[in-house]
């Protein structure tokens, strides 16, 4: 009797102690990750670069001092004879081979470039995540039939992954014909197996955790376990990958444009197309290539920095 009372009072005391130690309400993992992200230099630099890029992409057309398509200074550029106009007070980045203002073209071109990056990333993300989620759910909780389905799906993604991405993109572009949409689809499709593999692997890892067993032993439905337990815990690598693949998408789209599979109307500026056209005149006007090339690299770097910082912030092992 007395033993029982002392034990209960011990437990009460324990409750008191813990209550005193922490009065704040709980901080979810997402919120904590965000807090850590704010403290990371890498994340801040990446975010600033991305923000600048996005702002330019949105308001670029209004910032541009001249029309990006008007060949206003046509007479001053003689591309055939290797005569170009470099940076000057009137045209900060000089003129291109048709006498158009490079600075204006860069500002306006940001939008197309962002569009290509975001749309192709989204194609890869949405379709890839869909495939990965089905495969992952089937493999973890679908029993024997589910495992077979997962096997088949993964073999297909293996094959897709085995092909060099640029080759795959070129073949798709060859089938679909030359257009900006083609570039976006080609670059996006290449990303599908990457996202699918990633999400599935992550779900499989989570599916083996004890908390999933615990949920099953509580009698929670499998569909609910997948949606409320496994999925939320499997998403962070996918989010990181999405950021990183914006960078690769922009570069790959540029590569496809460079190969001449991009927008058939070169009047509409896009960094990748601009780079590909400038290549022809690299010997006489190297700066014409440098502007879009450097812009693409810096933007890709911004997304990569943020992605890497997010990877660190979301890694539960590094949780302080």
């Amino acid at each position: 009797m007395s033993l029982a009372t002392t034990k209960t009072s011990k437990i009460d005391r324990l409750a008191e102690l813990t209550a005193k130690k922490e009065t704040s309400s709980g901080a979810s993992l997402w919120r904590e990750a965000f807090r850590r992200l704010r403290g990371s230099k890498m994340a801040i630099i990446g975010a600033v670069v991305i923000a600048a890029f996005v702002v330019v992409a949105i308001v670029g057309p209004w910032l541009a001092p001249y029309s990006p398509t008007a060949q206003t200074w046509r007479g001053e550029v003689l591309a055939n004879q290797g005569e170009f106009v470099g940076a000057r007070g009137e045209n900060w980045f000089g003129l291109d081979h048709l006498g158009r203002d490079m600075f204006s073209r860069m500002l306006v071109g940001a939008r197309q470039t962002l569009l290509v990056g975001v749309v192709s990333m989204l194609i890869g993300l949405v379709l890839g995540a869909l495939v990965g989620a089905v495969s992952g759910a089937a493999a973890t909780l679908g029993g024997r039939a589910g495992q077979r389905l997962d096997d088949v799906v993964m073999r297909v993604t293996d094959i897709m992954l085995a092909l060099p991405s640029l080759l795959l993109a070129v073949s798709i572009a060859a089938v679909l014909g030359q257009s900006l949409t083609t570039v976006m689809i080609a670059v996006g499709v290449v990303q599908i197996p990457i996202f699918a593999r990633l999400l599935r692997g992550s779900m499989l890892a989570q599916g083996g955790k004890d908390y999933v067993l615990a949920a099953r032993s509580l009698g929670i439905r499998k569909r609910r376990i997948v949606l409320t337990q496994i999925m939320p815990n499997s998403l962070s690598p996918v989010i990181v990958q999405a950021t990183l693949s914006l960078a690769t998408a922009i570069i790959e789209a540029a590569a496809l444009s460079y190969l001449g599979l991009g927008n058939p109307d070169p009047a509409i500026p896009e960094w990748g197309v601009m780079l590909s056209q400038a290549q022809r005149f690299f010997d006489n006007a190297p700066m014409m290539s440098m502007y879009p090339a450097v812009a693409i690299i810096i933007t890709a770097l911004g997304f990569t920095l943020l992605g890497e910082a997010m990877r660190e912030a979301l890694d539960p092992k590094l949780r302080g």
């Binding site: 409750a15 813990t18 209550a19 993992l29 067993l213 615990a214 032993s217 509580l218 009698g219 929670i220």
Partner: protein, 386 residues
Amino acid sequence: MSLLELDGVKVHFPVKKGILFDRTVGHVYAVDGISLSVEAGQTYGLVGESGCGKTTLGRAVLRLVDVTDGRVVLDGTDVAQLPEKEMRSFRRRLQMVFQDPLGSLNPRQNIESILSEGMAAHGIGGNREERREKIKEILAKVGLPGNALSRYPHEFSGGQRQRIGIARALVLEPDLIICDEPVSALDVSIQAQVVNLLEELQKSMGLTYLVIAHDLAVVRHISDVIGVMYLGSLVEEAPSDALYEEPRHPYTRALMSAVPVPDPEVEDRRERILLLGDLPSPANPPAGCRFHTRCPWKQDTRCATERPELRDLGGGHRVACHFAAEIASGEITRTSGEVVPAAHEGSGGSGGSEASGAPRASGASGGGAAKGSSSGERASEAPAGT
């Protein structure tokens, strides 16, 4: 009738190999024919070395793994036979406390969500408010503050997390709780608290436990009956005190010899039986008596060919050894194995790990030296060295 009855339960995991198409190339006999019963209101302790199939047996009872053969009967219902849908609602009566407290809690769910989910699935406590009241009540019972509700698992200490795990099992008011090494991941100082809590909850709520551990000390403290597992089967089962006073199976004797005795005089005379050889793989268990490859009392007849059944030697003391009676009476003496005075081992610096127990200690009989000849060497060197 017992609350839980296991009858010849087997869980065999297929081993698959293949490049494109997986073929089954063998089986891991994780649990290979276990029969036991757990009485309502009591605690059944299950001990055994790592890898002997304890966790798998626990999961088989909850049907978290498929039972290959045998029956798992809870209160008259064969769990292994229930259709999926009925099983889901039946789960309410069977709950589990996991070994790794952090891993068993979803890091993205707060405590209220973790604890209310099961209630919602079984329609306990009509609305959110009622559930919250009930959760607060349970939290108080396990010694957690009410403001824990909105916090997340990573904000708690190991001991607190395990209390959350216990609370999650309790909210469903189950008949049977399976505790899979409930304290082995916790600091030694916290272990006693959690074990006490489990005991206290049992008294106040009339719970039935199946406690799995590799630590004899933990199990002895709270168990009414103890079963000793070796390679997927039970080798001995007896009421707790009887098992400690007179272990009858050679394997149990070896385990017990590793447990320090409180009485200093007895402790001075305590001898450790060192087992030779490695623990065989459950994918390829020895024929006959599973223990015959390491048994210090192994006989030339029967041991290697005939698998011993659990036999009742009186007083509920069941032993799976052909020669248990002869060994007890001294008719048969050890044919192999080494014995070291335990005191010397203690001074050898392994005292710390020994204090905490048990089957681990038997593995530690060669603390890394369980390998045939080397443990033999050590066995003969140890006394000379000190």
